[in-house]
């Protein structure tokens, strides 16, 4: 019936397990193994299909109960010490009990790169590309191409992973370490918003850290010590580069800050509307005036000029 040996099946299992690591890139070697014997491909397909079938099967399995209670998905989670098990999002949220200290550099040789509102800039480091949105200020190290410090603003990081030298990004509130990654960071005013479109980022990798995998967003609000995880569509990460801003419940204060950053004009929101959540897509094409006009219609709110800038006022 099957034309492969048990040994081939063991090899197929080993490949499958290696490939479950998101940063796996041994596809050439895998291809050579497949090509070595036509039965290898069949053993692999059978094994991989069985692995997929497990998804359904394992949903019913009851595991030994852990001592900790299972927090609700929307509870703020503390990125320290606590083991985070179970719950609806358990499959994608994990606490990394991190290894020792992440090397401290004795001396840095920093320089700043910054953009004005409405300006964009691409910075290329060794193995990493940074796309800075407007109103962004970032410090880079002449001696260390795997480091950046973000003072404020928004940037998309496309990092080629190197396990020996993880890319490390500091903000005023957190340290982020990539694990093979494309991610967007918005920082400033004491808040942090991290959205991961590929691979994984570890937040605060010191004594403990949280893994934020692709498809997840980690938001740390101003003055808070606990962050919140939610889902984000990978395709929505970094969309400002193509002139679209996606929101899934962000407060209007965030929308206003993004508009100011992207359009290059002051945009504020009055207190009554600042916390109002917004879901939708803001298109930036056509420039300031058409964008603000569309926003007014979208929000059903009063969006008007005020001096050199714009004000979003509550309905």
């Amino acid at each position: 019936m099957n034309d492969w040996t048990r040994e081939m099946e063991e090899e197929a299992i080993a490949w499958l397990i290696r490939q479950r690591d998101p940063s796996f890139d041994g596809w050439d070697t895998f291809e050579a193994w497949l090509a070595a014997d036509a039965a290898h491909a069949r053993a692999y397909a059978e094994t991989a299909a069985a692995d997929r079938d497990l998804d359904e099967l394992l949903t019913g399995v009851s595991w030994p109960v852990d001592a900790e209670p299972e927090p609700e998905f929307h509870d703020p989670i503390v990125p320290t010490r606590r083991r985070w098990l179970g719950g609806a999002m358990a499959a994608s949220v994990a606490l990394a009990v991190a290894a020792g200290s992440w090397f401290a550099w004795p001396s840095r040789d920093l320089y700043s790169v910054q953009t004005a509102a409405g300006e964009r800039r691409t910075v290329t480091l060794a193995d990493t590309q940074l796309e800075l949105n407007g109103e962004t200020r970032i410090q880079l190290d002449r001696k260390d191409q795997r480091f950046a410090r973000m003072e404020r603003g928004q940037a998309l990081f496309m990092v080629k992973h190197d396990p020996a030298r993880p890319f490390r990004l500091e903000t005023s509130d957190a340290t982020l370490v990539d694990a093979g990654t494309t991610f967007e960071v918005t920082a400033g005013g004491g808040a942090l918003d991290l959205a991961v479109s590929e691979g994984m980022v570890v937040v605060d990798p010191g004594s403990a850290g949280i893994n934020v995998p692709a498809g997840q967003r980690f938001v740390l609000a101003k003055g808070q010590r606990t962050g919140r995880l939610s889902a984000v569509r990978p395709s929505d990460v970094g969309t400002w580069r193509s002139g679209q801003l996606f929101y899934d419940g962000a407060p209007l204060s965030r929308v206003a800050a993004d508009l100011q950053r992207n359009l290059g004009v002051p945009v504020s929101v009055n207190n009554a509307a600042a916390a109002r959540p917004f879901r939708g897509v803001v298109r930036l094409d056509g420039g300031v005036e058409p964008t603000m006009a569309r926003l007014g219609i979208l929000l059903g709110a009063n969006v008007r000029r005020s001096g050199k800038g714009w004000v979003i006022a509550g309905p």
């Binding site: 063991e10 796996f24 069985a50 499959a91 994608s92 994990a94 990978p234 990460v237």
Partner: protein, 174 residues
């Protein structure tokens, strides 16, 4: 693939056509390799993928997944065929997909079997399998968490998969 590439990933496919075809052929796609590549080409245009740091690696993974998908759907079709011919009496073209009492009984027994297999692996292996396969924790993080080496984690996962595959085969062949 005559259309101009509408996404960055499509351009990467065009630039690496021969490599990807070779991969698909090694994967057993045979004459269908071109079709699978075309399928991949269309999928990446609409894929829910944001910016990708290592596009070729991403495409290999996607191609690999497509081949596994094809294998699964072919096998499921074969099984349906088999069920059909095994079914006693006249064909029932509008047979419901609702699980019959028999089927849910089988599912419960299967679940109990899986549970037993996992319990039989020992605590460490079962924990590693659960952390990885259910909680989605990466292997190197599990190694750190449990204070064991990465190769121990890999070996335990291989053992768990081996046991589950064997169990699966044992029920398939009943």
């Amino acid at each position: 693939m005559d259309d101009a590439p509408s996404s960055g990933l499509q351009a990467v496919i065009l630039a690496n056509r021969e490599k990807l075809l070779r991969f698909l052929i090694a994967h057993g796609a045979g004459d269908a390799a071109e079709d699978v590549l075309q399928d991949l080409y269309l999928r990446v245009a609409t894929a829910d993928a944001g910016p990708v740091a290592q596009p070729l690696s991403y495409l290999y993974r996607a191609a690999n997944n497509l081949m596994v998908d094809r294998f699964r759907s072919r096998r499921q079709a074969e099984r349906r065929e088999q069920d059909w011919s095994d079914a006693a009496g006249p064909a029932q073209p509008d047979r419901s997909d609702e699980p019959s009492p028999d089927r849910s009984l089988v599912a419960r027994e299967t679940l109990a079997g899986v549970q037993a297999v996992l319990a039989g692996l020992g605590t460490r292996t079962a924990t590693i399998f659960r952390r990885h396969r259910i909680d989605g924790v990466q292997q190197r993080d599990i190694a750190r968490e449990l204070g064991v080496s990465l190769s121990t984690v890999e070996a335990d996962l291989r053992r768990a998969y081996r046991a589950l595959l064997d169990y699966r085969r044992s029920i398939d062949e009943v």
